[in-house]
């Protein structure tokens, strides 16, 4: 009998944090332009010491272009993975991922509509730069609200009804996406295709970046406060209720927060698949299914995996770039099959 302690939790987070740091440094090193680890370390130190003016131009380019993209990967990966963990517990379904309830399709419809509308509106450059992500986030919000009302039974969320409502909404929205894409000017279709597959090249502007960071922290923190309730919800709604969990409240909180995480991630990077499905499973195999450790472990794991995948996407066919969603899907699908077979064996 060895219950989780705060010191063990922190130790595991520090180890995962160290791995993430190493992956980020390597991601900074690899790319179309080669840089040495030594020069990178020297200039990173200068940035930390506030001597940005002393940085050589070559490294300043790397830090200004690669670093924001890596940071975006960290946030998106962590968001997707925490959302996936939450949805798997909320829906009591190991196959649930952040997109299972149609959030990503809602975001895609919103983003496409924004792209179609943009030329017809006289927008200032600042608003134009955030117009597509904003459309995406609004689309996601509308989709999850609709699914929430579809998923209610006798005034409360019912897992299986919610799941069915989500799947139906997702398929309806994907039909709308196809309709919109066929009516789009062809110059936009390629951009949209990348966006549907998911990519991290559109680094958000400064205020938007802060919205993303604060949104992630707030939503993840809210989900984390329900960590031990989620452990009990896995044994079933009635069981949890008899063990003192306010099931209705926990469900609502996790539903909203996990949807917000997904909405933010999709609005920034399109729908990157498999991170939110697989990382929680792998973390569960390593750390067990106690959400007090699983949620932070998933956040780190998702960040590590997405930064690695994006580094591959940037370098495999350099100077051309692949959509990172294609990389995660190509690597993720076989891994998922392996995990499935292993479980059956």
């Amino acid at each position: 009998m060895r219950p989780l302690t705060l010191s063990r939790l922190l130790l595991q987070c520090v180890i995962l944090g160290a791995i993430l740091f190493c992956v980020m440094v390597l991601a900074l090193k690899f790319g179309a332009v080669h840089v040495s680890l030594y020069g990178l370390g020297r200039d990173l130190l200068r940035v930390f010491l506030g001597k940005s003016t002393e940085i050589s131009s070559e490294y300043s380019l790397i830090l200004n272009i690669r670093l924001p993209r890596i940071l975006l990967g960290v946030l998106v990966g962590a968001s997707l993975s925490v959302a996936g963990t939450s949805f798997q517990a909320l829906l009591r379904n190991p196959l649930a991922d952040p997109y299972v309830l149609g959030v990503s399709n809602g975001a895609a419809v919103g983003a496409i509509l924004a792209l179609l509308l943009e030329p017809h509106l006289a927008l200032t450059p600042e608003i134009a730069s955030v117009f597509t992500p904003l459309g995406g986030f609004l689309g996601a919000a509308i989709a999850i609200t609709a699914v929430y009302f579809l998923g209610r039974r006798e005034g409360r969320i019912d897992s299986s009804t919610l799941l069915l409502g989500g799947v139906i909404t997702a398929s309806l929205l994907s039909a709308i996406i196809i309709l919109l894409l066929t009516t789009m000017p062809s110059s936009n279709v390629r951009g949209m295709a990348y966006w549907l597959m998911g990519e991290l090249s559109a680094v958000p502007s400064r205020p938007l970046g802060w919205v993303l960071r604060l949104g992630f922290l707030a939503a993840a923190a809210v989900i984390y406060t329900t960590a031990s309730d989620l452990n009990l919800l896995l044994s079933g709604e009635k069981e949890a209720m008899h063990l003192g969990v306010d099931v209705r409240r926990v469900r609502l909180i996790v539903y909203i927060a996990a949807s917000a995480l997904t909405g933010l991630a999709v609005a920034m990077s399109g729908s990157i698949g498999y991170v939110g499905l697989l990382v929680p499973h792998v973390m569960r195999m390593i750390f067990g299914s106690d959400h007090r450790i699983l949620i932070p472990a998933s956040a780190f794991g998702g960040a590590i995996v997405l930064v690695m995948a994006d580094t591959l996407a940037r370098t495999v066919a350099a100077p051309a770039e692949l959509p990172v969603g294609a990389i995660t899907a190509i690597a993720g699908a076989p891994l998922f099959i392996y995990l499935l077979r292993r479980k059956l064996a």
Binding site: P3, P94, S228, S235, G236, E239, H242, G244, D246, G288
Partner: protein, 288 residues
């Protein structure tokens, strides 16, 4: 003061306002109606039912399928709001209790406990400490001690580090019971706990419940189909048929041949066993 006593002391002072001699559990004229659609007439009703139980007593709710046994148990647990009447536990209305407060007083052992992702037996038992902790709290040494005691009380210490999906049905049932004990409840409710157990494990479970009721001063309410186990181990029987409470009393007074034959729609005999408790035997080939 032991760890066990310490962590329940606050609750006990709250609940000790009631004299120990009064019934701890009072089910007062509780009724219920279920209809899938508010416009339609209810498809199931539970008519006004009343009974009382003291600390240390085992009450069994008996009746054929669809007689309302589980519904009555859910109402007692506070999970289901009765249409009328109320259930008092030490003077508190059970369905008005906050979820946490309810979890500290009432433990429920369900028919099935499905696990989505496997956990170890001790982790499962530790869930019973949830009503005592804040959401982000880590288990204390007291919690570990209480969980260990709970496993020991049901004779399952050796299962502590086993995975829940790799132990037998009887062993699983004990671990589930241990989790309920870890809640340190006043009221222990069990919904058909003997369902998947062989006869030896059934007797073992009832013996354990009988002993726990006396030792830990639990009020035990059990829903079951096992007439003879109830006759042997229960202090009180509540007999239901199609949502109607037909009789409440000691097994010897409820186990009347005519009454049981009419309720269970089969011919049977009732006689006194060697323990002085009523025994029911079926007459083969007499089912109607």
């Amino acid at each position: 003061m032991t760890a066990t006593a310490r962590s329940t002391s606050s609750r006990n002072t709250m609940d000790a306002t009631r004299a120990a001699t009064e019934p701890r559990l009072s089910v007062e004229q509780v009724s219920y109606a279920y209809s899938p659609n508010p416009q339609q007439a209810p498809i199931f009703t539970l008519e006004a039912t009343s009974f009382h139980a003291k600390a240390g007593e085992v009450t069994a709710i008996l009746g054929p399928n669809a007689s309302g046994k589980s519904t009555l148990l859910q109402i007692i647990s506070g999970a289901l709001h009765p249409l009328s009447g109320r259930v008092l536990l030490n003077g508190f209305v059970t369905h008005d209790l906050e979820p946490r407060a309810r979890g500290q007083r009432i433990a429920m052992v369900q028919q099935e406990s499905q696990l989505l992702f496997p956990s170890k037996a001790w982790e499962f038992v530790m869930q019973g400490r949830h009503p005592y902790g804040r959401s982000l709290r880590f288990e204390t040494d007291d919690d570990v001690l209480i969980a260990k005691n709970a496993l020991a009380q049901v004779g399952a210490e050796h299962l502590s580090d086993r995975w829940m999906d790799q132990i037998s049905g009887g062993e699983k049932q004990r671990v589930i019971l241990a989790r309920a004990l870890a809640q340190q409840p006043l009221l222990l409710l069990l919904d058909e706990p003997t369902l998947h157990l062989d006869i030896g494990a059934q007797v073992d479970l009832l013996e354990t419940l009988r002993r726990l009721a006396v030792e830990n001063r639990y009020t035990v309410v059990i829903v079951t189909h096992e007439l003879n186990l109830v006759g042997e181990y229960a202090d009180q029987v509540v007999l239901l048929q199609r949502g109607k409470c037909l009789r409440v009393g000691a097994p010897a007074s409820v186990y009347q041949r005519d009454l049981l034959e009419q309720v269970f729609q089969t011919q049977l005999t009732v006689e006194l066993g060697s323990t002085g408790r009523p025994r029911v035997s079926i007459l083969p080939g007499s089912g109607s």
